[in-house]
Symmetry: C2
Subunit: 465 residues, 2 copies
Amino acid sequence: MGELKVVNLGLESFAENLRAKGAAAVQVRWKPPAGGDTAMIAALDRLAAGAAVDVEAANLEAVSRILKGKPTLVDVGVALEVIPGMTKTTILHAGPPITWERMCGPVRGAVIGGLIYEGLARNREEAEALAASGRIRFDPCHHHGAVGPMAGVVTASMPVWVLENAAFGNRAYATFNEGLGKVLRYGAFSEEVLARLKWIETDLAPIMKRALALHGPLDMKNIIAQILQMGDEGHNRNRAGTSLIIREFAPFLVRLGEDPEKIVKVLNFMNGNDHFFLNLSMPACKCTVDAARGIEGSSVIIAMARNGTDFGIQVSGLGDRWFTGPASMVEGLYLPGYGPKDAAPDLGDSVITETAGIGGFAMAAAPAIVQFVGGTPEDALAVTRRMYEITVTENDVYRIPALDFRGTPTGIDLRKVVETGILPAINTGIAHKDAGVGQVGAGLVKPPENCFKDALAAFAEAYAR
Amino acid sequence: MGELKVVNLGLESFAENLRAKGAAAVQVRWKPPAGGDTAMIAALDRLAAGAAVDVEAANLEAVSRILKGKPTLVDVGVALEVIPGMTKTTILHAGPPITWERMCGPVRGAVIGGLIYEGLARNREEAEALAASGRIRFDPCHHHGAVGPMAGVVTASMPVWVLENAAFGNRAYATFNEGLGKVLRYGAFSEEVLARLKWIETDLAPIMKRALALHGPLDMKNIIAQILQMGDEGHNRNRAGTSLIIREFAPFLVRLGEDPEKIVKVLNFMNGNDHFFLNLSMPACKCTVDAARGIEGSSVIIAMARNGTDFGIQVSGLGDRWFTGPASMVEGLYLPGYGPKDAAPDLGDSVITETAGIGGFAMAAAPAIVQFVGGTPEDALAVTRRMYEITVTENDVYRIPALDFRGTPTGIDLRKVVETGILPAINTGIAHKDAGVGQVGAGLVKPPENCFKDALAAFAEAYAR
């Protein structure tokens, strides 16, 4: 009889015990699909056995629309005038739908700020009473073609960037980034915050609108392709993007014939805030991914978003239905004086960047981001590499130099997420849990697994034969 | 007798033959020092046996001065007024000293253009006659604290950036980058080239001088640290650097109260030329490295430069003496319609960036550069890693995210270059060999080995006991 040679599958301790006894044992790296969740395995099996429509073909159609997308900055408008379905008493917020009662601290803070900004309330108490009264309609940004970072609050008078997907004609909207520190999107609503919002409305936005009109439509796809060669990933690192926007617009700002001090203030504002670009990359991603909505039989995820209470996803083949789970806590680095106990759960629509294949999915392009969100440059490479396992394709324009110009992982396939247990990688800012404070850090967050499983169950229900 | 097991050193074919016969043979990767050059081995041995001064200590002093350097943009001036030793009939050029007779095509072209620009000649023929007459003094930029990309021609009326090493008080100078295409530095001297130089003199430089005065001194060390996180290496990739300069100066340009169309033209000029930053990174490196000149016993290289005919180096402990070898041909990528037969040999002072530890030495920070100079991103990482073998230290401020924020390899030790046979990695533009044409490509170049060997022989002569 020959020597005992064992190939072990499953619990590694069996192999370890054999090795301890001197026997040769090889451990096979294998995990059961869906972490062994029998309901999920059944759903995956039913889909694999043959769906009512061709899921693979539907997904290829979805990603082909994403790749064809031509996000273009075309205008600056006022929310009430340009966002479909907007009213004077509507407040848009980040993430899936939520009631005032269930909103987290920073979203409440931003709603309070928004109501005071609109003149619908004079102070916190009035705003809270009004918000609770039922006379304000709360609606997700995503339901109106909009996206908002962190609290994501958009009110009627706020100016918004207007992006158009030139390949499909659909539009997306986002407010102007307010900068760092005490800002509405992190739930701050002090006078300083409201005064800045007013200046954005009266000065910054009209000036940028005129400069953009002189400049003509700006091809955001080209800009995003460039920033990925310049150390940005378009979500939490936007220094290159903001720089390119400034150099693109500076000559046109000078040409406006405007009071030079106003132009100086605009330039200083952009120069002083490296996240100025975030509120352009987000709607660029939104209008790109929206073109892949509602494709019969597609399991591609076309929205991920958080309201600080719930994390939600939408799937191309499942209409506008949200699948939600509890918003997670973010693992990351904190600003001096703050720690995990101060943090609100995961918040904001900025995960639209990951949904479109940049942001956390393109971290390999932005190794310096780890100084902001934690980890090592090697981790950043690993994050991007892992995302290829849950996506349908690779972008043909957005390329990552450090991965030998491989395209960014694009088109998250719900089935792959559940089967592999690999959750989408998201990097994000961390808001203070209380209304009125602001940002306390940044890091990486794992979305709740159950929303993907619930979505897969619904997908199998809808499409498995 | 046991089995034959061989450890082979030297010619690998011995080991291969043994392996072919079934014997175990291990090949040791070993090369004789200095490629087996006995004169060089003797020089290295004499130095290792004990030098008249402590070379290690002298080199640590040299790199400590380089690391302490604070390159700062302080002013814009006119060459005649600010560059020490400049006269109306002096023409500064790149590289080590060279006579008109030995100058390559593009340097001759730039000299012709410079003489016409100065009004010293009316056309090519007059310029060539004057250049050959002995009435023009040709001098290396490096002899006047200046550096010039490619031909590097500086004439009396040209405006120059004035950089100061705030830690040591020494200054460096460089002209304004003219952009791409037909430009003086690549040897073009058509009317278009001369008109642009005139505009730089009458508009761009005075405007930037006033903007800089409003802005105050600009910390270039901080900017260079940032660009290395943004995909630039400061020699052949300068998109981030140029972007940061634009966003830094735009508000101050607006404040000048100047004719808006002039400001627009300045902004468009900078926006249209990603190498605008090169002529700032070069003097920043020059004033940094110059502080390490003339240290008794130091084998740190404090200048590398090429005039298209000769490649030359200077060594800290050997005064201002040049050691030269024939300028090499560049291996790289060519613009459409051009090939190696069109190329002039290696040219320009821009290798001051590598001398200071950025440029080719920091290619790992700029993986996208391979689209311009050839190779793969993995090659770019390998180039930087190899340079640690011939340098004394690592920069404490200039860090490379992809190498886990390791500092750039800094302070080239002449002894290590000769001992290992690893030549400094240089990336560079390629000029057309004929006067008047311009850039035809970009790539990587190997400097001639003999100048390093000659310098080592002189160093041993000067310092070995």
